[in-house]
């Protein structure tokens, strides 16, 4: 009898949902809460091969005066700002253009624009490294020659290497972001445009007063993932300079520095402090961004 009761309870509508979500609770505890907490704990320690020693806020103090970390921080922030500036307005315009009925063979272009996102960073990074080579025979210098410009040492100078990184990023994500905006546009009620046109609105006004505001959820989504991806960028730079070392750290990012200290230099405590700073930056930027866009307010209502 006892057993049967237990079995019934397990099959009841009250217990079943907990059974269903159990894997999440376990994974969440083991692979999220625990590492997140130990990230804070480890960031206050000096971790050697065998020993772990509490050092308080010393790692964070060191970060304040660590020039290399500041370089990485600035590089990552710059990259984030530029990628947002390039990967939101342009894909949005492409999507608006594609959404009208002017473009023929849409499916073909959509598929082709998505293809770069299919390649892993190891492949795309290698291809771009070879195209942005300093030799005159590399693709970019061939292009420069055609434009009557001198050859550049692309990956050895800060601003040209920034161009290389941004080109790689735009190459991979322009198509994806365009698709995001297209699906956002699909959700807009087309009759709004019709009635606005009857009222005599021109295409500029249609875009400004209908498309842009109604596309806002999509824009916020794309902005959020762009900020996160920008701040956490590492492998692109890892591949362009094949291994985390760029001249004068022009390609070093926050996560690159985290990897360098934690894995290459075996200084896990310090690496964790870098990680915590990154998390704080990511959360602060996102809350500011969400606050400015009024998303948080809407949720409260």
């Amino acid at each position: 009898m006892e057993k049967k009761k237990k079995a019934n309870l397990l099959y009841s509508q009250k217990v079943a949902p907990y059974v269903f979500v159990l894997p999440f609770i376990i994974c969440f505890a083991i692979f999220w809460v625990y590492p997140l907490i130990s990230s804070f704990v480890m960031s206050t320690e000096k971790i050697g091969a065998i020993t772990r020693e509490f050092v308080g806020l010393q790692n964070y103090k060191k970060l304040l005066t660590d020039k290399v970390f500041h370089t990485a921080l600035i590089n990552s922030l710059e990259y984030t700002v530029f990628t947002c500036a390039l990967l939101i307005p342009f894909p949005m315009l492409y999507a608006v253009l594609m959404d009208g009925n002017l473009v023929k063979a849409k499916g073909v272009w959509k598929a082709m624009m998505y293809v770069p996102a299919l390649t892993s960073v190891v492949i795309s990074g290698t291809l771009f490294r070879l195209m942005f080579t300093e030799y005159k025979t590399g693709q970019m210098n061939v292009l420069m020659a055609a434009l009557g410009l001198p050859a550049f040492k692309w990956l050895k100078v800060k601003w040209t290497s920034e161009i290389a990184l941004l080109t790689l990023c735009c190459w991979r994500w322009t198509g994806v972001n365009t698709l995001y905006f297209m699906s956002g546009l699909k959700a807009i009620d087309k009759t709004l445009y019709e009635s606005a046109k009857i009222d005599g609105a021109n295409s500029h006004q249609l875009f400004k007063y209908i498309t842009l505001p109604l596309l806002k959820p999509t824009t916020i989504y794309v902005l959020t993932i762009s900020i996160y991806a920008g701040l956490a960028m590492f492998l692109e730079s890892f591949m362009l300079w094949s291994g985390n070392d760029s001249p004068k750290n022009i390609g070093l990012t926050i996560v690159g520095y985290l990897y360098k200290r934690g894995i290459q230099k075996n200084d896990m405590g310090y690496a964790c402090a870098v990680g915590v700073v990154l998390m704080v930056i990511a959360l602060v930027i996102n809350f500011i961004q969400l606050g400015l866009n009024g998303t948080l307010k809407e949720e409260k209502d």
């Binding site: 130990s38 073909v108 030799y135």
Partner: protein, 298 residues
């Protein structure tokens, strides 16, 4: 654009001048996307053409489009299929990537489906909290957990094993979220119908709900497969022994400064894109559905 649809009240058709300007606009717009697509495909095309030339050339000259057919051969590909030590190594990476991808997709989908089912189909105390927690995991970039997770893998002895790569990503928040979005649009009465017929909760979740969530499974399977196939950062940290390497990390090991492996690197890279490209071409529609589900509703 305002007058683009202007209709001649007498004939009921568009004015001729409007039709003509639309035609010209259409040509320009289509040409624009053709050009954009061509630019985006270009680097891969260059790489593909270069894969028929000796790897030495890549090191000496860098990569640029060179359609000159002299000096092109299938040698790099022949090398990959030659059965020598290098090619055995390459196909081992390929096999490892395949296994890792298949296991990741199968487990992630099953786990995320049931979790989403639990969160979406029932009303219970922790429902809202759990949903918030799912969202919270999306708010912290994975890279931040890199070090502690790495240490944890060492501690629980999952380092250098496939499970060390798979388990931390098993409960993927975006996959759960997508299943959730899909399920809330389905009629909950189906569940009650099943209950009246005497089916238990687990039977309902598998036999009634799973079949109608099939499209969601397709979308997520492909996105998840793409992610697993191309995953690099975490496998780079977890795998240590060369015989366990996946394609991404394996190809990365070929990038030595001396470049004696570039033959294999360029041909191997092109072959590594093939499986995911085939999947993409077959299931294209599902990919776009799955990917954009989060963006519209925010």
């Amino acid at each position: 654009m305002a007058n683009a649809n202007a209709i001649n009240p007498e004939t009921g058709k568009q004015y001729k001048s409007v039709r003509r300007s639309r035609f010209i606009g259409s040509i320009f717009a289509t040409a624009f996307f053709a050009l954009l697509s061509a630019i985006l495909i270009y680097p891969l095309f260059c790489g593909f053409i270069a894969s028929f030339r000796p790897g030495r050339e890549l090191i000496r000259r860098g990569l640029a489009l060179n359609l000159d057919s002299s000096g092109m051969s299938l040698n790099n590909y022949k090398y990959l299929f030659s059965g020598n030590a290098d090619s055995i190594k390459y196909w081992n990476w390929f096999k490892n990537s395949m296994i890792l991808t298949l296991v990741t997709v199968a487990l992630t989908l099953i786990v995320c489906y049931f979790v989403a089912y639990g969160i979406t189909m029932y009303k219970f105390k922790l429902q809202k909290v759990l949903f918030m927690l799912v969202i919270a995991t999306m708010m912290v970039p994975f890279e931040i957990l890199l070090m502690p997770l790495y240490q944890e893998m060492i501690d629980i002895n999952l380092i250098d094993s496939m499970w060390g790569v798979i388990l931390p990503g098993l409960c993927s928040a975006s996959t759960i979220f997508f299943f959730h979005q899909y399920m809330i649009s389905l009629p909950a009465e189906l569940l009650d119908a099943g209950r009246i017929d005497g089916a238990n909760e687990y039977y309902i979740s598998v036999k009634i709900m799973m079949p109608i969530t099939k499209p969601a499974f397709s979308s997520m399977a492909i996105l998840c497969a793409m992610g697993a196939w191309n995953n690099m950062l975490w496998p780079l940290m977890v795998f240590r022994s060369a015989d366990k390497f996946t394609l991404t990390i394996g190809l990365n090991t070929l990038l030595t400064p001396y470049g004696n492996n570039y033959d294999m690197l360029i041909a191997g890279s092109m072959l590594a894109i093939v499986p995911i490209m085939v999947v993409f071409l077959i299931f294209q529609r599902y990919i776009i559905d799955g990917m954009t589900a989060g963006a519209v509703k925010g």
